[in-house]
Amino acid sequence: MLKQIKASILVTLLFTLSMGLLFPCVITLLGKALFPFQANGSLITKDGVVIGSKLIAQSFTSAKYFQPRASDAGSGYDPTSSGGTNLGPTSQKLIDGAHPLLPNGKPDTANAFSGIADLATAYRAENGLAADAPLPADAATYSASGLDPDISPMNAHLQAARVAKARGVPVSDVERLVNSHTRGRTFGVLGEPVVNVLELNLALDKMYPAKCLE
């Protein structure tokens, strides 16, 4: 018994030092040497300032930018509180949203929640679509992480006209940019085709900088 107690303590300590400390440190050294950009979080800098990570969605509300999927991470796109709505298929809140009122009768925006119906209505209004226009499945739903960096190609194409108008450039130019930023399935099989929103917006700013300042 005593022998087993001694062994269990020593083996646990050995695991702590080797697998808890040594292994991650070795992987860090190798990872940083081989793939420094990825190991440091795929951060994108502009004029020396970190503007975000290629892999992490950030909020875009202006009409001149493509907008990511709805986020329920914290108060939206908060990487310190990643996650989804966790609302189920028969949830009234998920479908219709929650629009509580303050005692003075004004809407309580702090506790308001946009349901799928609200997201769909807002999306159609912003992009000048008919009230019954079919929407891609990702356009009116919350992502799992709340940090989903991508949208579907159809979602991007539906936003292209709005973005082009806001920037005063031909729609065909923006469409072309969306196409060049569309990534197909990996090996033609895995995953789904996507467009990375931050990269697309950065490319927009780069190609049409003058309009961007307006």
């Binding site: 062994a7 081989l34 892999l55 509180s81 189920g88 028969t90 960096p149 789904e192």
Partner: protein, 588 residues
Amino acid sequence: MTFNGILQILLFSGIIILLTKPMGLYMAKVFQGEKTLLYPILRPLEVASYKLCGVDEAEEMHWVTYAVAMLLFSLTGLLITYVLLRFQGHLPLNPQHFGAKQMTPDLAFNTSVSFTTNTNWQSYTPESTVSYFSNMVSLAIHNWMSAATGMAVAIALVRGLVRKSAKSIGSFWVDTARATIYVLLPICFVYSLVLIWQGVPQNFAPYVQAHTLEGATQSIPQGAVASQESIKMLGTNGGGIFNANSAHPYENPTPLTNFLEMISIFLIPAGLTYTFGRMVGNTRQGWAIFGAMGILFLVGAFVCCHAEQAGNPMVAKLGVMTAAASGQPGGNMEGKETRFGITDSALFATITTDASCGAVNAMHDSFTPIGGLVPLANILSGEVIFGGVGAGLYGMLMFAVIAVFIAGLMVGRTPEYLGKKIEQYEVKMAMLATLILAASILGFTAIATNMHIHPKGYWNAPGDSWNNVNNNGAHGFSEIFYAFASATGNNGSAFAGLNANTPFYNLTIGMAALIGRFLMIIPLLAVAGSMAKKIPVPATSGTFPTDSGTFVLLLVGTVVIVGALTFFPALALGPIVEHFQMMQGKLF
């Protein structure tokens, strides 16, 4: 279902079938002390660790000693993690200054139990609760230790089946060391680097303060993510470095990492079926176990993918497309990531709950009722559809004992398995393990759906225990049911809307995890000990062949019937009734 969906399921299955033999053969050699390709490089590490820990490699253990060593090892790890978590505020690599305030005593208990038992249930949001040190050291060591423990127990049980009139079933310390050094370490080493290449971070930098294009600030957590992600998946642990787990783009950035993560969940559990066959001297015995697991996996995968692609009719009514089209995935995309779409999310959910992994790349809570029923039913099957590393094999062998017993009853003959008579003692132990699991899941669920608690008190601030759910109606019941199924099955995935970070839930879920792990392992080690003592009887024309198609079907039937009869009433109250409510357009 889409053509691509079917293609991906078949591709995944094909690769697992191809990897099972080489992986299983390698592990059989490792646990029998034979030389392998990596032997010259890794043997010195093995020898050194025995020396450091004072372990005698040649010393074998009786099943009781083996169980005691396993329990002591788990207990030591549990205590160390509890202390380290509580003192995280005084430890290094803590740029956000998290302390004991975030890691309360009940949460630290729940978390250390959950990681020790290979459950990795998380009541907390990691990025706002635990330091880099806590993740990397206090928690990740259990990803290695609990995985190695699971493999050791499985191998001990197989030895018990193979040995003739023997007293011992191997050495727990040697099995644990070999599992870690020869199996987990080399794979995780390469795997971690591949993950970094694909975009998983690996650094100790403080949270990055980004200034977004629209002028907001965004605080982005970093950490030693890749080194933990690899063992989290390979060891079927599943505890996320971030709250969103494998849905988080830092844990699972691309469809390729997603595919590798799915493969790595099944790699060892599938391989172990071949290891088993090889160790008992008839690989067909292993393939029979694999076949039963494979059938149950495929049924779940197709049902789940179909339900998620069909989507929610109430969302379809709002003009959101549920049919897949070129350029958009369709289906139920609530709580799913664009890069994974429907198939990769539903397939991942099936795999992670078949194996007791519990990592998620989509929010199970937002699945359609039938899509969510599949993960729940997988867990309720006893985590034997490939199952956790080691745990899946020993769980399925327990069902095999019950299956041959049932077959024996049908023809009125003493049942045999692998040439050994299955007698009263073995059947009692196997049934004990089955019943304990069911009692824990249903008992705790019943308590948590009925417990009056004073609101704003210590035990459960929201008051009555059912107030912690995030959804009303049948779905709320499913959240509680799933929590205790997940904890008892040592899975760790969740219908994550449930607010489980209160003393009431932390303690009950922690207890369920302890029951599910150890009250299953101990009866099985007892079976191993009793089987090892027996003398094989020669097979006759009356022996029921356990490497035949009939046996595979009987085994599948046993798993389904035991699960279905035990849990059908509870499933009817949750996902099944919710499905009909959804089809009727009812909201809660």
